[in-house]
């Protein structure tokens, strides 16, 4: 299968060409194989015979991770005969609620949503589910467990993501020295999981001192402020772990502006700028939060629900892990190709 992909890659000039060359059915098969599906099971999943209407929303298209997810969803939707209408969360719980309220008055074959504020969409989503529409949750829990009978929940393992990057960074430190963790927003379930994973691994390194763990709320300007004083206070800082890559790259700018170097940086998300930063040695490692898998699989799950009649908890489990690899220099180049074609 990988040989087929390589051939196609050589011929294709763009991701659109890749999709065209593979053809819809072959593409679905190839992607499911890449995604780790049993090919026999994948046969159950068919391209929609009639055009399906799907409504999708994620936290906010200002975030590159979300914008990439939208592109991935639309690419997969095209292959599977689904017409996607997007409702932008605009990185605001109240704006997302208003737009989902508006979405809920219309008729959809299926709905897939990444919630910005946990628990804020219950009312309109209940109405959608009561109307018999499958609702797929992406990346973030929509409501505390048991409150909403959703179709399935496709998400990464944030604890694992925190721990695998921490492992790479701590090993690169040689198991001793000072490290800082710059956190995302403390209320974010992803940030909480990543912090937990980091600390689990850190516990195995008694000679490493965690000197700072302030939240920068995903805000790169806050990162600059925190790291400016952090580097003044701890000029011997050896490494930094960040809850996303954007913050790690922002800290790198502060480090360089101070004329310092050699501080080992690790992040989460593995968006292309960070993968390139791993390739050029700016970052030690990052881990893929697989935006394309999460959004693409949601399309697949929606089609399976409508066309194959998959029932939640019976034909499809309540939770599907969308895993992503840790990115180091060894696998970074291949990973960039996968992202370019919305495969991970």
């Amino acid at each position: 299968m990988s040989h087929d992909f390589d051939d196609i890659n050589e011929i294709a000039k763009s991701r659109r060409d890749v999709f065209k060359l593979m053809g819809a059915t072959a593409a679905a098969g190839a992607m499911f194989a890449t995604a780790g599906f049993d090919p026999a099971m994948a046969q159950e999943l068919k391209k929609a015979g009639r055009p399906l209407k799907a409504a999708m929303s994620n936290a906010g298209l200002q975030a590159t991770w979300c914008a990439q997810g939208k592109q991935a969803a639309e690419a997969w939707a095209k292959l599977m005969n689904v017409e996607v209408t997007w409702f932008d969360g605009e990185l605001s719980a109240t704006k997302q609620r208003a737009t989902i309220d508006n979405m809920a008055t219309q008729k959809w074959d299926f709905v897939a949503i990444q919630t910005f504020g946990i628990g804020t969409l219950n009312d309109p989503i209940k109405r959608v589910i009561e109307a018999g529409t499958p609702v797929i949750t992406m990346d973030t829990m929509m409501a505390p467990e048991g409150q909403l009978p959703i179709h399935t929940f496709i998400a990464p393992d944030n604890v694992m993501m925190g721990s695998v990057v921490a492992d790479q960074v701590l090993k690169a430190m040689g198991g001793k020295g000072k490290i800082a963790m710059t956190q995302g927003a403390l209320g974010h379930s992803g940030a909480q999981g990543r912090a937990k994973g980091f600390k689990q691994v850190l516990a195995n390194y008694p000679n490493v001192e965690l000197v700072d763990e302030q939240p920068a709320d995903w805000d790169v300007t806050k990162v600059a402020r925190i790291w400016d004083s952090l580097l003044t206070k701890h000029p011997d800082l050896k490494a930094g772990f960040f809850h996303n890559d954007d913050m790690a790259l922002a800290a790198d700018k502060v480090i360089k502006s101070k004329g310092m170097s050699g501080i080992l940086l690790g992040g989460v998300d593995a968006m292309p700028p960070a993968v390139n930063a791993v390739l050029d040695g700016t970052m030690v490692a990052t881990v893929r939060n697989p935006s394309c898998r999460i959004h693409g699989w949601s399309i697949a799950a929606g089609v399976a629900a409508v066309i194959a009649g998959e029932k939640p908890g019976k034909d499809i489990p309540n939770f599907i892990l969308a895993d992503g690899p840790v990115i180091t220099k060894d696998n970074a180049a291949g990973h960039l190709w996968l992202q370019k074609n919305f495969l991970i």
Partner: protein, 340 residues
């Protein structure tokens, strides 16, 4: 008087009427155009469910906008409305028992006491703003900016990155409940708008609010206690924001840090798009209602038609800019008319 004089006089009075009413006519005209456009573009637009949806989406903003209308009519501004709404919503959650999975230190109190204490917190924060603006003499822009930070600090401190889901039953009913298919939040907002309109139109206090905004010096010379009026509108604004925060957290289903951030611009937009003058003295609750409907219909309609997600934000901005241009232009026409 010759026929030419009479025609000239008629034209002049028509121009006068138009310049007087421009700030009222323009938003209504905008609303009609938007309604017609979306009704033609989407069959769902005129469904009862969708119209109720527009009202329900506007209800929480509407409660904040009531208080803000008083403030803007006096020629002042309140930038703390959204932060204060969030802080008060979170304060209410702090006084309510939360489920086991919510890791927040709370002081659970009986529902009614919780509501009274929460409203008292809003009153206290409003009083601090009023004191800063009227007694110390800090411009409202700066004072409410400081209050915004304070309220954000209160929110962060109480909720500590966690999310609260439970609120007193009465508030849950008013924020998220329905009666005969109509959301209670729409009813509360409508009653508040009506009450505010009556106060502004038929009471001495209401006339003073317009006087202070229209010509502060003249109001002072007429014996109006300007500081008292400004202090009062700041407290009214805080109370409205507090109420919106309490109902809002129930409406949205959870209380969390920065939950209401967008309401600041939305509420100011609603008041100004409706035609209330940013310089004070002109406008009123009627204008705010039209402003709320313009924004509500616009946001709703853009979600009903097939349009690029990225374009929606630009369109909203352009409509807001057009409304602001009309607002300022109407003010200039009025001033020009008064001078002529």
């Amino acid at each position: 008087m010759t026929l030419a004089d009479s025609t000239k006089s008629q034209k002049s009075s028509l121009k006068q009427l138009l310049s007087d009413q421009m700030r009222n006519i323009a938003p209504i005209f905008t609303l009609i155009i938007l309604v017609l456009f979306f009704a033609v573009q989407s069959p769902v637009f005129f469904s009862v469910a969708n119209l109720l949806n527009i009202l329900s989406n506007a209800s929480i903003t509407g409660i904040i906008a009531v208080g803000l209308t008083f403030v803007i009519l006096t020629g002042e501004i309140d930038l703390s409305v959204a932060a204060l709404a969030n802080a008060i919503g979170i304060t209410m959650a702090f006084f309510t028992i939360q489920p086991d999975y919510v890791n927040i230190a709370t002081i659970p109190l009986p529902g009614l006491i919780c509501i009274v204490l929460t409203l008292a917190s809003a009153l206290a924060l409003g009083a601090v703003t009023a004191f800063g603006v009227t007694k110390i003499g800090i411009p409202s822009f700066i004072m409410t900016l400081a209050m915004m930070q304070i309220a954000n600090g209160v929110s962060a401190l109480l909720v500590r990155g966690q999310i609260a889901y439970t609120f007193p039953d009465l508030i849950t009913l008013l924020g998220a409940g329905k009666i005969f298919g109509l959301r209670w939040s729409i009813i509360v907002c409508s009653l508040l708008l009506l009450f505010a309109h009556l106060v502004l139109t038929y009471t001495r206090f209401g006339r003073y609010v317009f006087m202070v905004g229209g010509n502060r010096e003249a109001a002072e010379y007429s014996g109006v206690n300007v500081k008292m009026i400004i202090g009062a509108v700041m407290i009214i604004s805080a109370m409205c924001s507090g109420l919106a925060g309490m109902l809002g957290v129930a409406y949205f289903g959870s209380a969390q840090q920065n939950g209401f951030d967008d309401f600041l611009l939305t509420a100011i937009s609603a008041v100004v798009v409706g035609g209330t003058s940013l310089f004070g003295g002109r406008g009123g609750i009627g204008n705010t209602i039209i402003g709320l409907l313009v924004l509500g219909v616009l946001n709703n309609g853009l979600d009903l038609i097939q349009i690029d997600s990225f374009l929606k934000i630009l369109i909203r901005g352009l409509i807001l800019l057009a409304a602001l241009v009309i607002n300022v232009y109407a003010q200039k026409l009025k001033e020009g008319g008064a001078e002529g």
